[in-house]
Symmetry: C2
Subunit: 399 residues, 2 copies
Amino acid sequence: MPQISKRGINMPESPIRKLVPYAEEAKRKGRKVYHLNIGQPDIKTPEVAIKAINTYHEKVVEYSHSAGNESYRKKLAKYYQNIHIDISHTEILITTGGSEAITFAFLSCLNPGDEIIIPEPFYANYNGFAVSAGVVVKPITAKIENDFALPPVSEFKKLITQKTKGIVICNPNNPTGYLYTKEELEQLSNLIKEYDLYLFSDEVYREFCYDGNQHFSAMHLKGIEQNVILMDSVSKRYSACGVRIGALITKNKEIINTALKFAQARLSPPSFGQVAGEAALETPPEYFKEVYNEYIERRNYMVEALNKMEGVVCPKPKGAFYTVVKLPIDNSDNFCKWLLSDFEYNNQTVMLAPATGFYSTKGLGMDEVRIAYVLKIEDLKKAMEVLEKALLAYPGRKE
Amino acid sequence: MPQISKRGINMPESPIRKLVPYAEEAKRKGRKVYHLNIGQPDIKTPEVAIKAINTYHEKVVEYSHSAGNESYRKKLAKYYQNIHIDISHTEILITTGGSEAITFAFLSCLNPGDEIIIPEPFYANYNGFAVSAGVVVKPITAKIENDFALPPVSEFKKLITQKTKGIVICNPNNPTGYLYTKEELEQLSNLIKEYDLYLFSDEVYREFCYDGNQHFSAMHLKGIEQNVILMDSVSKRYSACGVRIGALITKNKEIINTALKFAQARLSPPSFGQVAGEAALETPPEYFKEVYNEYIERRNYMVEALNKMEGVVCPKPKGAFYTVVKLPIDNSDNFCKWLLSDFEYNNQTVMLAPATGFYSTKGLGMDEVRIAYVLKIEDLKKAMEVLEKALLAYPGRKE
């Protein structure tokens, strides 16, 4: 039997998926499992998007333009112009989810063996896209005691080698909920300029910025326009993860033209998803206000509840809908597994994501978990109660 | 400004896309352009598929399972069982079009630098997926004088090196319309066994087999079950190219598990597309009969019309809806461009795909074009008339 590929072997398994069999087992035992482990919000997809699908009336579901429907790209360009990102529809490539935008960005800009620096903890699937592209991830550790702010530029410089070709940021951040400030982005910008690197900016949580903080996009940076690749998605903005529509955006024509060749090979992004994505641009402002208020309420409740628990430290996330929390535990993988296999409180338990999966440096994240506040407040309250009891009962508790 | 990646530079541009600006120019001049260049059929998508989308009623468009919805995979397993391919739903991974199935197959099975043998002319995008994966394509030339039958095994053996890891076939074939016989597949099977290679079998045109010829699948081969990866798609079967739903199928658990890791990184295949794909499995048999009759009529008309033209040789395709035709021309790229820029007959012209784009060996396909019979018979008749006039008028005509 021929061998599986090396990258297939090196391809990381999702840190959350490993727990799925244990969650299924818990459910089989009749336990209620509160899912705080995933980025799948319970928020309704805007009705305009569903309606567009329900009234789809083409007779032949044809390939679209490989860069996505022009009508959609033109409206999307307006969406960006409204948030002061000056781009035209020719600078947008519609992708199959944000995932494909990342893949196309890596394939177009990076050679196998090239290095990219990513502040950790980071979205675990960056590892997978890097392995697929043969690219080496060099992590730079952000610290919970600084609320996971951008590590100092001097630390970045220590990691830069001849092979370094880019920096990846996620802003607002998954998994930390940190929102990079304009000043932090300008520090990054200087670094990008000095070493002539690419800046890959994942901004899929752009709409989720709290406490009056404004989102400052990598596309707002002056002087590095040719170095910036924005990776975006409709998944979180419209709670429409399954439509699989994202975008790669850049002012750099060479990158767009190159990415288009990868896009042509796979023919086109999904037609129905594009219809839904285009319609979603007409989502009324009240929708976002409601969603915003919902997340604020959840976050505030959760952060307060967590920080009240003995030995727990939870920074207050300024964006997205995640937080990385420090827990008084020996090993987050074991703890998250134990929650599902051994623990129950009134026949309930919680599923969390061990933070180890979001760190690239071995040994980090052992006393941290990622919590996604994607459950309605009643459930979140119950989940926090369960977590509190669990931390007291966990045999591997550390003070 | 940082450099584009080498694979980005090496990424081939679609041989057809290069002609698009000329087609647009012809249309601006008011010319009717008959598109015989693309695999986008004019056949209606089954109503059951559209209806499923029109009645979609989920409130949140969630991620699906990374391998695709279980209900869909279970029904799809039955579809395969009905055509005597013995697989279960756990051996199916739903992908974003057949394209992603090819990508996952290459990434899971092949290392950068590995070689795959593909009979040429072949589907041009295999080149793109190979470049993305860092895999080297070794072409083996099929000859028009043999109707593009499988080249002799002895020719394959000449190409096999230490780096050869697999053979890719497309059956029925795009671009030639050739349908491999059971005997040819058994010859391949012996080769696969002898050298322990992977057999990547693209069977997206399975339903399009004519003149009483039965499709023999690579999955029907005995003794190489662990070596076969089937790559499939709903695009052609249901004339639903835009839904972007395909499948990777294999009895090899290690490959399925590895491909699943790549699938998890990109989260899930499109939700709406899966709904349409699942519903399409209920397409009534009359639909396929009608489509079949339509293609037979088109093919018969076209083959006869082409072979009547002086200097033209068109094998009779036994499957799919393409044919590669030999024309009395000096250079197929120039000819196809000339058709759009310079030629018109009663203000009409035709767009064809130069066969050079389907050959990996430089210099081949210069006197051949691919014709897709995806137009209704009235248009096909006009297109054939235009082509006949064009061949007489073309300055680069060769006898």
